[in-house]
Symmetry: C2
Subunit: 414 residues, 2 copies
């Protein structure tokens, strides 16, 4: 079963909005063994849409389009699809009812432009959009190939694809082949180093298993993807290979499953029954943000102090002004005092602290942009170290955040 | 001048990594009046690459490829391009020298796999990658059309496109037409409402000006894009139209330029000479993260307290436990006390505070998921209000963050 995604919208090609929908769709269809052949991002332009749909149908059984369905003038997808599949635009009272319902839940009054969204091509079957106003349209060709047009707002696309479109596609297209995956997360090694280590091992993989390298800043995800008619053989083979990977990278194993550093950390904190806090200077709240993005984190995450100004470091975190004076605010000593200070201030068992120069300015002699001191503190010990991260401000913040989370998680593993 | 981008990588189509490169490229080329025709995201597959390149050359003068250049086995772009353009793979000692240099700056030792990156097609001109190991390859067809192959790591793509590839493309392809943009940011109105308000105005726009609606959660960006041979006429026309937009949406105008809510807030704080702090419960550090992503924010941003546990609210922010008991922790009263408490604790002139239920669990009778109380405090007043945001946890966090930033910015405007 082959799927192609067409993302429609000038804003995507202007770089104003990033297409996250195709990635969300890919992750949702993956457990079914489905994957996306290609994604094409095109303008709100009738000719471009028509050409892309032709090209997509030539390559795939299912074409998913996202975007181009808003009530404003630059959205012409609906009319173009009506022309493509034939028929005419008709008023669908059930769509208007649904829009009224969505609006009333949000406390917004209907206006004339929104009412226009209740016009749909007669050639499609409507799937009501329970979380937005643009209806979802299911077109089916005589040869059984399907095009589903969905809105572009990521929240709506994800909700409606997961709850309606995907189940209906599963019903229409299903296979008997088993698929399965295993993942390990390795930290502290370069991609080349890992690839060298696995060179012969990878060559000896059975032909129904593929190893994918998925490097992210500071970590490398190794994923085994398998597909076989014999489900038991597949599972036992993947279990063996997964075990070999875990053993081979034991000293650098952040997680034996597809976890982010923050997920791995929470898992270890829970295993110890520990609570955690953070004191953030250069990461500016990003450690807190990454942890609190996880539902249910409040059982071990208590809070953070973002101590951008030195006065916050000394007043709330009890950092000694003399240490700042002697060692500089970006120093292992200050980071260690921040880590211990935030444990006391917030009453947590463990903590992370960051103090560094995210750039582009702020460098001092001997401390270039990208210098970050990271400390972690547990009931057993406080560790502080200096790192040099390459790149732009957002990259330094991201790397420092990942490193702090990883450092605490690896320390709790021992 | 037409540009097509091909993003290569299985990880992109598995949803493991999002393609941010094409958006970054789009924003960088925009001031030159260039734009992207379409983007195609494809697998690490020789046939897919060859087909996409054929298709791209049929549509564009310049083809930019990103990704597929890592040292591991699933990256086959380089060989495919060598076959496509003819010639053979040759060892380029200058590439090896550059890789050694990049590695020594990072303190990493070269290994055999990385050395393989110094093999390049004889048909290309190499642009040294100063921030990574994969060389950039410039291929030119006899008809003058160009393909530039760049690495996929966003940091490397952005740095190298901006510093090397873009300037070299500008030199080869240039035009005499002037292009210009104006932007306004409107808050507190739906897209439909704005579109209705602008219906006739938009119809009367000169044909060399286009109005784009760029809605983001909580705000709408309206962008006027103009293009004309007469630069003076273009500027004066855009100035007049921009002024009309500012006047029409005066009560809802967050910014008269292309600013994010956090940028608009910092601008207003600086205009008043105010400092700012935040007390975050349900936004979990995201307000701090959004502000500190801006270089130079430390002149007015002092710090935040992420008070996830109630003990942090009462101990550090001096929220009255009796208020939590009587009104609940998600209440306008508690949010107001958090806002005033963090101003005192951190010593800031202004503050924002959030307390809410980001979900998916945590709802209580009368307070469904998405209920967020947001307070702002200035030297003049403290305001607290309750909001109901639709959607998933990340969306609630995002909307609450934007609303807090916008609320303080709009209050400081008055």
């Amino acid at each position: 079963m082959k799927i192609v995604v067409i993302a429609i919208g000038d804003e995507l090609l202007l770089g104003q909005v990033i297409d996250t929908n195709s990635g969300s769709i890919a992750r949702m269809i993956d457990p079914a063994g489905w994957s996306i052949e290609w994604v094409k991002v095109i303008h709100d332009d009738a000719e471009a849409i028509t050409e892309a749909v032709d090209e997509a149908f030539a390559a795939a059984d299912v074409v998913l389009t996202t975007g181009g369905l808003g009530p404003t003038k630059d959205d012409i997808t609906k009319l173009t699809l009506c022309n493509y599949f034939g028929g005419e635009m008709v008023f669908d009272p059930s769509v208007l009812e649904n829009i009224k319902d969505v609006f009333s839940r949000r406390g917004i009054k209907l206006n004339a432009l929104t009412e226009g969204q209740a016009m749909v091509p007669s050639s499609c079957r409507v799937i009501q959009n329970r979380v937005g106003t643009a209806p979802i349209m299911w077109f089916e060709r005589p040869d059984g190939k399907v095009l589903v047009s969905m809105p572009g707002v990521p929240f709506e696309t994800v909700q409606m694809f997961e709850s309606q479109v995907f189940p209906q596609l599963l019903e229409k297209f299903h296979s008997d082949e088993h698929i399965a995956h295993r993942c390990v997360i390795v930290e502290g090694l370069t991609e080349s180093k890992v690839a060298m280590e696995l060179d012969e091992w990878e060559d000896a993989l059975p032909d129904f298993v593929h190893l994918a390298y998925l490097p992210k800043p500071g970590i490398i995800r190794l994923r085994l993807d398998g597909r076989h008619a014999d489900g038991e053989l597949l599972e036992s083979t993947l279990n063996r290979l997964h075990g070999e990977l875990c053993q081979r990278f034991a000293d650098h194993l952040l997680a034996d499953a597809d976890l982010t550093p923050e997920e791995a950390l929470l898992q270890r904190l829970r295993a110890h029954g520990y609570t955690v806090a953070a004191a953030e200077s250069c990461t500016g709240g990003n450690i807190a943000h990454r942890i609190t993005a996880l539902a249910g984190c409040s059982d071990c995450y208590l809070g953070s102090v973002v101590s951008y100004a030195n006065s916050v470091k000394t007043n709330i975190l009890s950092v000694d002004p003399a240490t700042i004076e002697a060692r500089g605010v970006v120093s292992e000593e200050v980071a260690a005092q921040m880590a211990e200070g935030v444990r006391r201030a917030i009453g947590a068992d463990c903590s992370m602290a960051t103090s560094g120069i995210a750039g582009p300015t702020g460098a001092t002699p001997g401390k270039p942009v990208g210098t970050v001191c990271i400390a972690i503190s547990t009931p057993a010990r406080t560790i502080s170290a200096t790192y040099h991260f390459p790149g732009t401000r957002d990259r330094v913040i991201d790397r420092a955040t990942t490193t702090a989370l990883t450092l605490l998680a690896m320390t709790l593993k021992k």
